[in-house]
Amino acid sequence: MTWILDNLPRIGELTLAHLALSLPAVIIAFVLSIPLAWGANRVRVLREPVLTGTGLLYAVPSLPLFILLPALIGTSVRDPLNVVIALSIFGLALMVRSAAEALDAVTDDVRTSATAIGFSGVGRFFTVELPLAGPALLAGVRVVCVSSISLVSVSAVLGVSSLGSLFTDGFARDIIGSIVAGILMTVVLALICDLLLVLAGRMLMPWQQTRRRRPLLARSREVAA
C-alpha cells in the first residue's frame, strides 16, 4: 500500500502510456471493421473467407505476434507502434465478425423500405443500416476495448512501457504492491472505458431506452389482463 502511494506519479504515467497503446488500436479496429464487414456482406462469396480469415488471426498468440510483426513491417520489437498494430489486428479479428453479423441483422424489409422512400445507397447505409446495427456494433466494440486493455500488458515483457511494466518491475524487484497496483489499474481502466462506451451508446442511440421499456409494459399489460 505504501509503495502504491509513493509511486502514484509513475502509476499515472504508465496509465496514460497504457491508454495511448490501447485506445488507438480499438479505434483502428472499429473503423476498419465496418467497410470490411460491409464488403463481406455485399459480396457473399467473400463473406466466409473474410470472416474465417480474420477469425484465424485471433488464434495467433499475442506475444509471438508482437515479435513477428517487426519482421513483416520493419518496426523494432520495442516500438510502441508495433504494439498498436498488433492490438489493432486482434481487435479487427474480433470486430469484423460482430460487425458483419450486426449489419447482416438489418432486415431486408427495412432496407427496401428505405430505398422506396428515396434513400440513396450511401445515405441508406449511414442513416438507416448503421444506426440499426448500432447496438450490436457497440457490443462488439466493448469486447474489443476490454480485451485490448488487458492484452497491452503483455508487451511489457518486451520492454514497451504500459501498466504491464508494473508487473515486470514488481516481479523483478519482488514488490507485490507494484503488481497489485497494476492489476487494479488495468481492471479499473477497462471498467471506465466500458462505462464510457455504454454512455456514448446511450447518447448516440437514445431510441434504445424506449425500445427496452416497451416489452416490459406489454408484459405487465399481459399480466394485468
Binding site: 485471433y58 505476434l65 513483416l72 501498466l163 492489476i183 481492471v187
Partner: protein, 242 residues
C-alpha cells in the same frame, strides 16, 4: 523479410530441435501445460456451466465473472502468484486456469441454453428426469457451443503458456525469452513461429472435430434446425460479448 529467412534457417538446423532444451522438448512441454490447464479448467468449469445452463440459475454471476476475468491482465496474475508461490509450475497453472475457465464456463451454459426449449419439454414429457434431460438431450445438442468454449480456452492457454517461461517454467516461451535476453532476433522469431504454428494446429484440430461431430446423428450442429439456428447464433454472440 531477411529476418524471417534467418529464423527459418535457424528452425531448419537440427541443433534447434534436439537436446533437453530443444524445440521438440519445449513444444511437448507447451502441449503438456496446455492439456493440464485445459483439463483442470474443464473439471472446474464444465460441471458448473452445465448446472447453470440446466437450472438457469446463477447466470448473472457467471456473466459478471467471465467479464471480470476478461479484464484481468494475465501477466499481472502470473507474476503475482509467482511472487507468492515461488518459481515453478504453480503460478502458470493458476493463471492459465483462471484465464481459461470462464471461456469453458460460458461455452457450457450457452450450449445448454441453446437447446430448443420445446425439445427439452418434449424430453421431459417422455418421462426423462433432470439428469437424463441433461445427459441425453442438452449436452449432445449443445455440444457445438460447449466445444467452442473449450476451443477458445485452448487457444488462450497456448498463447499464454508462452509467458510461463517468464516465471521460470518451461514451454516454448523459454526459447523466446532466451532470444529476447541475448538480442538474438532469429531465435525469438523462430520460437514465435513455432508457437503460432502450434496454436493454428490445435485450432484446426478443434475445428475438424467439431465438423466431424456435426455429422453424427443426434448431435445437431447449430443451424441444422432453423429455430435453434438463430437462437444458438444469438447465444454464441452473447458468449463472446460477455
Amino acid at each position: 523479410m531477411s529476418n524471417i529467412l534467418e529464423a527459418l534457417n535457424w528452425l531448419l538446423t537440427a541443433d534447434a530441435w534436439t537436446g533437453p532444451g530443444g524445440l521438440w522438448v519445449r513444444s511437448l512441454e507447451h502441449l503438456a501445460y496446455t492439456l493440464i490447464a485445459l483439463g483442470i479448467s474443464a473439471v472446474i468449469a464444465l460441471p458448473l456451466g452445465l448446472a447453470i445452463g440446466h437450472t438457469r440459475k446463477g447466470r448473472g454471476i457467471a456473466i459478471v465473472a467471465t467479464g471480470a476475468a476478461r479484464a484481468l491482465p494475465t501477466l499481472g496474475l502470473l507474476t503475482l502468484v509467482a511472487l507468492v508461490t515461488g518459481i515453478g509450475l504453480t503460478a502458470p497453472m493458476v493463471a492459465l486456469v483462471v484465464l481459461a475457465a470462464p471461456s469453458v464456463l460460458a461455452g457450457a451454459y450457452a450450449g445448454v441454453e441453446s437447446v430448443n426449449q420445446a425439445t427439452v419439454d418434449a424430453a421431459r414429457a417422455q418421462g426423462m428426469n433432470g439428469w437424463q434431460v441433461l445427459t441425453r438431450v442438452e449436452i449432445p445438442l449443445g455440444l457445438p457451443l460447449i466445444l467452442s468454449g473449450l476451443r477458445l480456452a485452448a487457444l488462450q492457454i497456448i498463447a499464454t503458456a508462452t509467458l510461463a517461461a517468464y516465471v521460470g517454467a518451461g514451454g516454448l516461451g523459454r526459447q523466446l525469452f532466451l532470444g529476447l535476453q541475448t538480442y538474438d532476433y532469429s531465435v525469438m522469431l523462430g520460437a514465435s513461429l513455432v508457437v503460432i504454428l502450434l496454436a493454428i494446429l490445435v485450432d484446426t484440430a478443434f475445428g475438424l472435430t467439431q465438423r466431424l461431430l456435426r455429422r453424427v446423428p443426434g448431435l445437431a450442429g447449430p443451424g441444422k434446425a432453423p429455430s435453434t439456428g438463430t437462437r444458438s447464433r444469438r447465444v454464441r454472440a452473447n458468449m463472446t460479448a460477455n
